[in-house]
């Protein structure tokens, strides 16, 4: 059978397609919730990182620095393993939650760096003008700096989301039934007995998700930039 005939065999099989869609569901759920968690953590860490130095902020700043260093310095697969088999080695703890936490924490470290960079890229004069008018630091940050930083940050965050979605494919390692696992099962001996075709189809699924997402991000970018023609 040729490659394309096998692709057709897969696409026209209700059973295989339902397996792929079950996997797709897991991939989307894990990606979505870990992206939300990652954005939340990343923003928090970035805000702590750019806070002016003070004795009160010393410990949080150290914690955030260690967090970013450790998470960015170790492979995602190992983080997932440690989460799964050490930290959340709780009987019956749902794997989905473990995976969401592991990916959210990982994503947060990268997102925080993007956001921090975005905030720092806003001209210091903007902060000074706000402060000189008597606006407190937090208000200046929220009303003036962050809205401008968001525009600079969106492309980097988009990149991070795309990377995150593809990275979730390693949840099949801990036995979760995601898109990659579905492709493996379809490729197993009792089904198509070759990984090549189902993996190619799964790759197209990932491509479709990522393409849709980057389309959306472009749209957001465009809308945000509409306000300031330079």
């Amino acid at each position: 059978m040729t490659f394309f005939a096998e692709i057709w065999e897969l696409l026209s099989s209700a059973k295989y397609m339902s397996m792929l869609f079950t996997g797709l569901g897991t991939t989307l759920v894990v990606s979505l919730f870990s992206a939300i968690l990652g954005l939340f953590l990343g923003t928090l860490v970035a805000l702590v990182a750019i806070c002016p130095d003070s004795p009160l902020m010393k410990l949080p700043k150290i914690i955030c620095k260690v967090y970013v260093t450790v998470i960015r310095g170790t492979p995602m697969a190992l983080q997932l393993f440690i989460m799964m088999y050490a930290i959340f080695a709780i009987r019956g703890f749902p794997q989905e939650i473990t995976a969401i936490i592991a990916f959210g924490i990982n994503s947060g470290a990268y997102v925080s760096e993007s956001i921090r960079g975005g905030i720092l890229s806003v001209d210091i004069g903007q902060t000074e003008a706000g402060r000189a008018l008597g606006l407190p630091y937090g208000v200046t940050l929220m009303k003036i700096v962050i809205p401008q930083a968001v525009k600079n940050v969106i492309p980097a965050i988009g990149n991070e989301l795309i990377a995150l979605i593809k990275e979730t494919s390693i949840v099949s390692m801990i036995g979760m039934y995601d898109l990659t696992q579905a492709a493996k099962v379809i490729g197993a001996g009792n089904n198509m007995a070759s990984y090549i075709v189902p993996m190619s189809v799964a790759a197209c699924f990932y491509l479709a998700i990522v393409y849709t997402l980057s389309f959306g991000i472009k749209g957001i970018e465009k809308r945000l930039r509409a306000g300031d023609r330079r």
Binding site: I36, Y85, G92, V185, A188, G189, N190
Partner: protein, 284 residues
Amino acid sequence: MKKIVSLILALTMVLGVAFALSSCADTEEIIVRTNAYFPPFEYYDGTEIVGVDVDIMELVGKKLGKKITWKDGDFGTIIDNVADGTMADCGAAGITITEARKEKVAFSNPYYTSIQYVIVPDGVSVATKTAGGVEYIVWEALAGKKIATQIDTTGWIYTDGEINATEEDEDYGYNGVLYGTGTSHVEMPDAQAAVDALGVTADVIIIDELPSKYLVENSSKSLKCYPLYYSGSDGEADAPVEEQYAICVTKGNDELLTAINEVLAELGEAKIQEMVMNHMGLNK
């Protein structure tokens, strides 16, 4: 927007914890670790894990009046998970009894005797021998080949030993059959990946008998498989690489171990062989 995000987060956490607590409270459940790429013992049918081991464990569950929950994952993590006992009570994945594994977990009585097989694709020539009507391959015949195995399986352990063991190494104290022959070891995450690697990065595969037959039967590639034998020394006959499968249980969980042994005894060799044939045949 911020409120929605925090709400979703909070919900996720609450659901997670609630879910965790509810499952924690459920002691009427036996969690079984496996690696569901080992047909006919365990494999996915759609999104369900099925196979000989599943059939056996369902009978154990019925005997104890408990629910059986399957957890899939890397083969290499099964023994540690079961040894630890928090995340799994037992492991059923066509696991061969070895001394090293015995130190960590308790094994049931063996329920299946397997031998290692070699999968050889068309176009790769490996010398075979015949004795007593069985055509087989001896380790020496694989010299210089790229041998694919699934990581952490016995095929992987044996191949690693035969290629790397040296007299100087205290762990071995002998030279492996393939030591110094230029044979290389291609370590794959699962059996199907090894089949896809044939003709690309691998020449042959060493894997247990039944999965080997299963893979050969179903693959679109043109494959043959032969039993793998050790050459007999000093005029002894060549002998296959035999091993025994058993179900492993967290040490100290005697209730479960006893129940498994009872089920295995009730089934008997013939019934288990029938289950094997069912799973081999149903999926042909």
